[in-house]
Symmetry: C2
Subunit: 242 residues, 2 copies
Amino acid sequence: MKIDPKNKADLSAQIAKAIRDAIISGDMNVDERLPSESELADQFDVSRSTVREALKRLAAQNLIRTQRGATGGAFVRRLSYDEAYAQHITTSTLLLSMNAVDFETACEARFALERACAPLSAKRRTPDHLATMRAEIHRQAQPGLSDERFCDSDVAFHRALVDGAGNPVLSYQLAGAVEAMQPLMNMITFTQRNRDVIIGLHTRIADALEMQNSADADEALAELTAYTLTLGEEAMEARARR
Amino acid sequence: MKIDPKNKADLSAQIAKAIRDAIISGDMNVDERLPSESELADQFDVSRSTVREALKRLAAQNLIRTQRGATGGAFVRRLSYDEAYAQHITTSTLLLSMNAVDFETACEARFALERACAPLSAKRRTPDHLATMRAEIHRQAQPGLSDERFCDSDVAFHRALVDGAGNPVLSYQLAGAVEAMQPLMNMITFTQRNRDVIIGLHTRIADALEMQNSADADEALAELTAYTLTLGEEAMEARARR
DNA sequence: CGCGTTTAATTGTCTGACATTTTAGACAGC
DNA sequence: GCTGTCTAAAATGTCAGACAATTAAACGCG
C-alpha cells in the first residue's frame, strides 16, 4: 500500500486509490485504524492537505469514517445495507436522468426484475409485508391524494413486495431499479380511472401473495407492466405535444 | 445552493452536500462549470482548502471532473454506463464481503434476476451475443483451465446472456449481482465432472436462446441454480471443516 | 479509591505561498 | 491581413505552518 510512483499527477487520487485497494483487497479489516494523517503524509511523502483530500474521497464512498480526538483517526468502515441502498439509488437515478433513458426501457427492466422476486415473495412473505401492502393500497385509494404521493405509495408497495422475498441482496439490487423509476413515474398524471386499475392490480398481487399463489401474482404483475407502459407512453406523447 | 447554516461541524461535508443536491436536482446541467474554488470559498465563507475537500468528495462519486488551466475548473460530469457499472460492482462486492452474506442468499438473488432476463434475451439476443456465449463455453472446456479462469469465463457467459436482453438498465442492475458473486464462486473447486455439468447446462441455455425458446432457457437456468447451490454448500462445508 | 484537571494526540480549518497547466490576447514579422 | 510566438492571467494542485476543537488517557489531590 505504500507504493507511489513519481507520477506527479493527481497525487491525492493516487493515494486514495492505494488505500482503497488495501481496503478492498482485505488487507485492512473493518474498524481497523489507518495511520494518522501526519504519518500518511510522511509515508507517501506528501503534505497533510494532500492526504486529507485523499481521505475525503474515501469518506465520500463510505469506505472510512473519521473520528476526532486523542484516539481518533480514520477507520475502515463496514458498509451497511442502508448506505449501500442509498448510494445505489442515487447512482441509478442519476444514470437514468443524465443519459435520458426512455420510459419503456426503465419500465421493462424494473418489472422484469420485480417479477423475478414474486415467486420467492409468494413463498416467504410475512404478515408484516402483507400488512404494509394492504396499508399502501388503502392509502392509494384515498381521495385527493396528489400524484406525487400516489407514486410514493406505489414505490412503498413494490418495496414491500420485493422485501417479502426475504433476500437482502435481492432487495438491495432491486432498490435501484424501483426507486430510480420514480422521477419518470412522476411525469405521469394519474386519473381516477388509472388509479382504480392500478389499485385493482395491486390488490390482486397482494391477494395472490397472501394465498402463496405465485402464478396469479406473476400474471397480475405482467398486466401491471403492460398498463404502466401504456400510461408512460401517453405521458410521453403529451409531453412531446406540449 | 448557497445556503449553509452556522453549524460548525463537518463544513466540507455540508458544502459537498449542497453542491451535490444542486446537481442531482437538475439545477446544474451536464458540462456546466461550477464557480472557481476561490469563488466558492467566498460564497460559503470558508477557506479554499475546505472547498477543495468538498470537491474531492464529489469527484470521488464521479459527479464532477476538474480541469486545470485558464478556462479550467470543476464541471458537472455525465455519469457513463461504464462508470456506473464499475461503481455498482465495487459497492456490491464490498457489501457482500463486509457483511458476510452467505453463498445461498447471493446465489439465489443472482439467479432469480438472471432468470428475469432470459425471456427478453430469448427474444432479442443478437448473433454477437450467441457467439460470445459459444466462445466462452469453448473456453470453459479447455483442459488445464484454472478455477479462477473458469469463473471469469462463467461471468462473461452470463454477462452475454444478460446483455442479450438489449436493455442497458437491466444490464447495469444485473452487473452488481453477477460480478459480486465472483469472490464467493472463487472459493469453489471445480472438478472436471462439475465443469462438464455446467458446460452442458450452458450449452442448453445457449441453444434455447438461439432457438428463442424461453421456457427451455428458464428450465436450464433453474437446474444451473440448483447445481450451483449444491456446489456452494459443499465448498462451504469443506471450508468449515478445514 | 474517586473525581476533577491537565495533557497529548488527532482531526478540522485557515492563511499564504508557490508550482503547473492551459488559454486568450498582445505583438512582431511578413 | 495573416501567422506564429510570447507573455500574462486564471485556474487547479501542492506545500508548510499555524491554530481551533475534540477526545481519551494520564495525573494529582482530597
